[in-house]
Symmetry: C2
Subunit: 333 residues, 2 copies
């Protein structure tokens, strides 16, 4: 295992400590239980957004904590759900009197623990709504999931709902917008290589030198098919056509596109994939109105990519364009 | 070779095409010869900044083209210097009547070709100054270099000089600031794995599973020492102490720090390295006044990191804090 770490058991807390000292203007890291909140939390009178999940997907979610996006993130151990007490403490810390929205990726442990935390918060008089993101078209059920997995649409939902909350929308309206994003977003990913969970010390799966895994999950869960490696044009076409056919996206639709790297894929390749995606969307009559190209929801050092498309109307585009101040998002998005 | 590419010969142009279609609000990509310019180039009356070098280091340099940073970038083939005609065309395209600064990383081919381009431009009446960045403390001469290599300080120089040019400073003053950044910046890197140049199809070098290369160059050039893999704390200490001793940085200095990933290192590890660096700097009496943590000057999918420290006074910090609108820089820097 070749990693820039000290003790495999301490990777998450040591990395969080670095995040906290790097960005004191944006966020604050709390330990035992571990969570990350906006530097100015709680913001009185604003709906608070809380997300979380296993670590190893950075910059998601802690990199999306900041003005205009999340109020709090709850990082679990690598590829492990955060515990109810983490989520409860984070929810309490950011509650500003206008209620809290939990944005939850659809993995069994995450859903269960967010539900338990919401119940604990309700007892304390905090109004909590939850939206479960389940945008991955690759498989219906998987290793850690009943139903579809939650992947790239989560990033878009956090940005858009963060803007909605910042505008002063109430909890019902922010929740509705989050449901709308989930209803209109679809994703699919693929892997060229496996990743290695630090505590495991060996690759999660084996993938021969000439093979790739289509429909991979962000924890290395099996996808749809293992097949011979093909050119980027073919890979992008397979991902995009499956995503487009699922909603389905239709001629004339405007979309927000995310070409996401799994952590070990260099930017030169991701922009090449974006170039293919542009042409495919153009051919189908879809307009990419906005986009992100980079590593946004990763699987440690896995090589590969995912594609997310979100059908966007004027409301979603306007919220997308609102300012954001988070460590994990780029100026030039 | 596992990469998201089509034809190894077309990686650079296809990736540039994607960059251009992704960011039309920021930049424009020109082909034959290939260069990338600000969307609003030329900006009349402003000193123009041009950089460039081999591709494979993304987001450097094309990701740093935009308001507040570079006016143009000249991407060569992967790990290959741009040609004089590329640099000449880019310089002409962005010249706004106030002269042009070439920011050149110290590699023999880059230096020679930027010099030839500057001579060609001078004949046309364009005033060109050049600053060669040579901040890598690892080795004195190397495979492609007489003298020290240019690495991470280049990113900081492009940001700071871009802000100076945006403020309306004249060519002499922007050039002086660039020299000051180079004089006060020092870097060193290390690799956990090699990278594979697409046209070569096989790893640039071999590195056993239990070994790392300290002092690696950004093209995989040999460094100072190959040694057994150690914890991140030891690696960071070796890099930081060599960097600090070289200038030398002294108790009471304020620094801008860059913890840079080589392309295949996940953010969770880079923040862990930043956490170590913070403690080392604190112990030495250095204050990290500003920082970047992420993949900024990469070597394709190489795993590893580099550390850059820049001794910064009020002038440099003020320029650092100025707004920038480039695809490769983060909001929350």
């Amino acid at each position: 295992m070749k990693k820039l770490i000290n003790d495999p058991q301490n990777v998450v807390v040591e990395s969080l400590a670095g995040l906290g000292s790097a960005h004191p203007d944006i966020l604050k890291v709390c330990f035992d239980p571990n969570y990350v909140i906006r530097a100015d939390a709680p913001v009185q009178g604003k709906v608070a957004l809380v997300s979380g999940g296993g670590s190893g997907h950075e910059p998601m979610h802690a990199g999306y904590v900041g003005k205009g996006m999340l109020d709090a993130a709850c990082p679990g151990q690598v590829f492990t759900s955060p515990t109810p007490d983490q989520i409860e403490a984070a929810t309490q810390a950011v509650h500003g009197g206008a209620g809290v929205l939990h944005i939850v990726k659809n993995y069994t442990g995450d859903v269960m623990n967010f539900e338990m935390a919401a119940e604990l918060c309700a007892v304390q008089g905090i109004e909590v709504q939850a939206v479960v993101i389940n945008d991955d078209v690759a498989v219906e059920d998987s290793l850690y999931t009943a139903g579809r997995r939650g992947v790239g649409t989560t990033v878009l939902a956090e940005k858009i709902c963060g803007a909605a909350a910042e505008r002063g929308y109430d909890l019902a309206r922010v929740t509705d917008i989050c449901r709308k994003v989930n209803a209109n977003g679809r994703s699919m990913g693929m892997a060229l290589t496996s990743c290695t969970v630090p505590a495991a010390g060996k690759p999660t799966f084996e993938l021969p030198d000439d093979q790739m895994e289509m429909g991979i999950g962000i924890h290395g869960e099996p996808g749809r098919a293992r097949m011979s490696l093909t050119p980027a044009r073919d890979i992008t076409t397979r991902l995009a056509e499956t995503v487009i056919a699922d909603l389905p996206f239709q001629r004339g639709d405007r979309v927000i596109a995310l070409v996401n790297g799994m952590g070990g894929t260099p930017l030169i390749e991701l922009y090449l994939v974006y170039n293919e995606l542009e042409q495919i969307c153009h051919g189908k009559g879809l307009t990419i109105a906005r986009r992100l190209v980079g590593n946004y929801i990763t699987s440690l050092e896995m090589a590969g990519c995912s594609i997310t498309l979100l059908k966007a109307d004027d409301e979603l585009l306007s919220l997308w364009d609102a300012p954001v101040f988070a460590a994990g998002l780029r100026w030039g998005m």
